[in-house]
C-alpha cells in the first residue's frame, strides 16, 4: 500500500509540527508513506474566492506530484474536499479522477481504511472539539445536527482511544467558526464575532486545548485566543493522536 502525504501549503509553512505528527502517526501505524517534495497548494483559496478559473496551475502540479499512489492522505477536511470536488485536468482526466477517488482526510483514513481500534496514544488533558464544516457536512466525517440521522463522529471514535483525554463538547455542537477562507478578511467583523462565540463556549467548558481536523479553523481560533491572552491552546487531531 503506497501512501502519499499531502500537506496543505499553510500547514507546511506555519504548522510543520502538524505535518510531522501526521507523518509519524501514519508510519507508527505501519504505513509506507512518501512525501512528494514539489507539492504546493490544492487551489482552494483562489476557487472559494471566485477564481476557480485560475487553479489550472495548481491542479497540474498536484496531479504531477500525486499520481500513481494507492492512497493520498492529508490532515485537512477542507483541502481534501476541494480536491475531491474540483481537481481536474483536461489533458489527464483519468489521473485526476483517480486522485479524486483515492484522496482521504486523515481521520477517515484512520477509521475507514486502516480501521484503527487502538491508537496507543496518551493525552491526559481536558480537550474541546471543534468540528470543521467541510469535513463534517461535505465529507461526512460526523453526523450533522441539522439532519435526522444516527449520531456518529470519526474524530471522537479516535479521540476516545487516547488515554487520559477528557473530551468536552460545546452546546452548539457544530456551528461554524467563521474562518471561511477569504471570508476571514473580507467579512472581518462577522468572522471575528463567530470565532469569539466559539471560543467563549470552550472557555466556559474550561478546556486546556481545542482540537480539530483543520488548522485553518484552528489558526483563526488561535488568533482570537492569543489576542485575548487566553491559556487555551489549539492542537490538530494528528498531534493528539501522535502524543505519547
Amino acid at each position: 500500500m503506497k501512501i502519499a502525504l499531502f500537506i496543505p501549503c499553510y500547514v507546511d509553512q506555519f504548522y510543520p509540527n502538524v505535518a510531522i505528527a501526521t507523518l509519524q502517526l501514519l508510519e507508527k501505524l505501519g504505513c509506507d508513506v512518501s512525501y512528494p517534495l514539489t507539492q504546493t497548494c490544492c487551489g482552494q483559496p483562489m476557487a472559494n474566492a471566485g477564481f476557480a478559473s485560475m487553479t489550472a496551475g495548481c491542479d497540474k502540479n498536484f496531479i504531477a506530484n500525486f499520481s500513481g499512489f494507492d492512497y493520498i492522505v492529508g490532515p485537512s477536511g477542507s483541502c481534501v474536499l476541494h480536491l475531491k470536488e474540483h481537481l481536474h485536468d483536461d489533458k489527464r482526466p483519468e489521473q485526476a479522477a483517480a486522485i479524486r477517488k483515492n484522496i482521504y482526510e486523515l481521520t477517515e483514513f484512520l477509521t475507514d481504511v486502516l480501521q484503527v481500534k487502538n491508537i496507543n496514544a496518551s493525552f491526559p488533558h481536558k480537550v474541546g472539539l471543534h468540528i470543521s464544516c467541510h469535513g463534517q457536512r461535505m465529507l461526512h466525517l460526523a453526523s450533522m445536527s441539522e439532519k435526522v440521522e444516527p449520531e456518529f463522529s470519526k474524530a471522537e471514535q479516535l479521540l476516545s482511544q487516547v488515554k487520559g483525554l477528557q473530551l468536552l463538547k460545546t452546546k452548539r455542537l457544530d456551528e461554524c467558526c467563521g474562518f471561511g477562507g477569504t471570508f476571514c478578511v473580507t467579512e472581518e467583523a462577522v468572522s471575528v464575532r463567530m470565532g469569539q462565540d466559539r471560543v467563549k463556549e470552550h472557555v466556559y467548558n474550561n478546556v486546556e486545548y481545542i482540537t480539530g481536523g483543520d488548522m485553518s479553523c484552528l489558526m483563526h481560533l488561535e488568533g482570537i485566543l492569543k489576542r485575548k491572552k487566553s491559556n487555551i491552546k489549539v492542537l490538530h487531531f494528528a498531534e493528539i493522536l501522535n502524543a505519547q
Binding site: 500537506i7 499553510y10 510543520p16 510531522i20 497548494c41 483562489m46 464544516c133 471561511g180 467579512e187 488561535e222
Partner: protein, 459 residues
C-alpha cells in the same frame, strides 16, 4: 470586495457594534433553529419527506409551463381572474388597475414577500392608495418605514423597547409600556378597524395547486382570512414558482413548511381559497420578475424550489450575526444571496461572499436546495463578469502563480515565511484586517518540507 452602493460586510460591522444586541439577535434566531431541530427529529421520516418535496418541486420546475396553464384554466373555471405580470412594474400596474376600477383607496395586505420584492406599497402610495401591512411584524416595520429583516419574522431585528417607542409615536400607546400583551392588543385594535373599513385585500400565496386552480395561504395570525373575507376584492400575488401539481402534494409541503420555519407542527391557519364568494371578485397575479432567467440558469434553477420557510436564515451563522438589512435585498439570508444576483449582479455581487460556505443552509432546507454550492457558483460567475475589481483579481493572480510553481513557492516560503504575504489573511500587510482582532501564527524556523529534506535524506 466589490464596491457596491451597499455592502454586506460594512453593514454587518455596523450591526455588530452593539455587542449585546447582536448577542440577543443571534440567540433569538438560534432558539428558532433549535425548535426546528426538535420538530424535525420528532418525525423519523423527516429526510424522506425532504426528498419527496425536493422531487415534487424538481418535477414541477421541469414542466412549469404546463402546470401554470392548467392552473389558469382551472382558476378561470372557478370564477377567478388570472393576470400575468412579466416584471415588478407590470405587477404593480395590474394591481393598481384593479383597485382603480373599484375606486378602492384603502387596502389591507397580509403575508406577501412578493409585494415587497415589487415595492408595491410605494407604487400604490404614489397613486394615493393606502396599504396597511396587517401581520404584526410587518405592521411594525411599516410604521418605522423599514424593510422586513426576515421573511418569516419581519421585525426580528427589533426588541420590545423599540416596538414600544414605535407604537407610542404612531398609535399613541403609553410611553415606556413594553408589555407585549398591551402592545399587541393596541395594534390589534387599530388593525381590526382597518380590516372593516378597507376596500380591498391583498394576500400572498404559499402554494397554488394546478389540478384545482386553488391556492393556500399559511398564516399564524389569521390576517389573510380576515382581509379576504371582510372585503369585496381579494387579490392574491404569487411568483410563478409557487405552483405544485396536485392537492395531495400539499400534505408534504405543509408538514415541512412550519416545522422548518418555526418548529410548529403546522401553521395556525392554512387557508384554502378556490373561488370568490357571491358578490366578491378574486384575482390572482402570477409574476415572473426575473424568475424565467433563473430557470434558464442550469446551476441556479433549483433555487426556485424555495418555499420561503427561512430555515436557512435561522441556521446561518452569518445571518444571525449581521441582521437581515445587511443583505440589502427583499429576501435576505443564504437563499436571498443566491436569488439576488439573478436580479442585479452589480448591486448584489457582495452577497454570495457573505457566507463561510459552512453548508448548514443546505442541510436545513426542506426542499433540498444546494444553497452553499450555488453561493460558490455565483462567486465564479461574478468574478468572471468582472465584479470583483482589478485589485482583487491581480492579487489572486499573484497567489495562483506562486502556488502553482514549486520553485517560487519554496523560495517565497524560505524568506521569513514570505508565504504570509500572499495568503488571504494577509493580502495587504499594512491594513491587514486579520490583525484587528486576531494574532497571526508565529512563523516557525523551517517549513515541513525543509524539515523533511533534512531528516529524510534517503527520499
Amino acid at each position: 470586495m466589490n464596491k457596491t452602493i451597499e455592502d454586506h460586510s460594512k453593514a454587518a460591522s455596523v450591526f455588530l457594534q452593539d455587542e449585546q444586541r447582536a448577542t440577543w439577535h443571534d440567540e433569538t434566531l438560534w432558539f428558532v433553529r433549535a425548535k426546528r431541530d426538535k420538530a424535525a427529529h420528532q418525525l423519523p421520516e423527516w429526510e424522506a419527506l425532504r426528498d419527496l418535496a425536493s422531487q415534487i418541486k424538481d418535477h414541477t420546475l421541469s414542466r412549469l409551463d404546463e402546470y401554470l396553464v392548467q392552473f389558469e384554466t382551472k382558476a378561470n373555471e372557478n370564477g377567478v381572474t388570472v393576470h400575468w405580470a412579466n416584471d415588478a412594474d407590470e405587477h404593480n400596474r395590474i394591481i393598481h388597475g384593479i383597485l382603480k376600477k373599484h375606486n378602492a383607496k384603502n387596502v389591507v395586505k397580509s403575508k406577501s414577500m412578493l409585494t415587497e420584492e415589487c415595492q408595491l406599497n410605494h407604487y400604490l402610495r404614489d397613486h394615493d392608495i393606502s396599504v396597511v401591512d396587517t401581520d404584526l411584524g410587518e405592521y411594525i416595520v411599516q410604521l418605522r418605514e423599514e424593510q422586513p429583516s426576515h421573511i418569516v419574522l419581519p421585525a426580528i431585528h427589533l426588541k420590545k423597547e423599540d416596538v414600544s417607542n414605535t407604537f407610542h409615536k404612531h398609535l399613541n400607546t403609553e410611553k415606556g409600556n413594553k408589555d407585549e400583551v398591551y402592545l399587541t392588543r393596541s395594534a390589534r385594535k387599530v388593525l381590526r378597524q382597518k380590516f372593516i373599513t378597507a376596500d380591498a385585500a391583498i394576500t400572498g400565496v404559499n402554494f397554488a395547486v394546478a389540478e384545482t386552480g386553488g391556492f393556500v395561504v399559511c398564516t399564524n395570525e389569521g390576517n389573510a382570512d380576515l382581509g379576504a373575507h371582510a372585503n369585496k376584492i381579494h387579490i392574491a400575488c404569487m411568483g410563478f414558482e409557487k405552483i405544485i401539481p396536485k392537492a395531495e402534494h400539499l400534505g408534504v409541503f405543509l408538514r415541512l413548511l412550519t416545522r422548518s420555519a418555526t418548529g410548529q407542527p403546522i401553521t395556525t391557519y392554512s387557508s384554502h381559497f378556490h373561488r370568490p364568494k357571491e358578490g366578491q371578485e378574486m384575482h390572482i397575479v402570477i409574476v415572473n420578475n426575473g424568475r424565467a432567467n433563473q430557470l434558464g440558469r442550469k446551476d441556479f434553477k433549483n433555487s426556485l424550489k424555495c418555499i420561503r420557510c427561512a430555515a436557512c436564515f435561522n441556521t446561518c451563522p452569518v445571518y444571525r450575526r449581521s441582521g437581515g438589512h445587511s443583505y440589502h435585498n427583499s429576501v435576505a439570508g443564504p437563499i436571498g444571496s443566491i436569488l439576488a444576483p439573478n436580479l442585479d449582479m452589480r448591486k448584489n455581487a457582495d452577497l454570495p461572499f457573505a457566507s463561510t460556505l459552512c453548508g448548514s443552509c443546505t442541510n436545513v432546507c426542506p426542499v433540498k436546495i444546494n444553497i452553499h454550492e450555488q453561493l460558490w457558483n455565483w462567486r465564479q460567475i461574478l468574478m468572471k463578469e468582472g465584479y470583483g475589481g482589478t485589485a482583487k483579481k491581480a492579487s489572486m493572480k499573484v497567489m495562483a502563480t506562486v502556488l502553482a510553481s514549486p520553485t517560487i513557492y519554496s523560495l517565497s516560503g524560505k524568506i521569513g515565511r514570505g508565504m504570509m504575504r500572499i495568503m488571504p489573511w494577509s493580502v495587504n500587510n499594512k491594513l491587514n484586517p486579520w490583525y484587528k482582532h486576531r494574532e497571526l501564527p508565529e512563523p516557525p524556523k523551517q517549513s515541513f518540507t525543509e524539515w523533511y529534506k533534512k531528516k529524510r535524506k534517503h527520499e
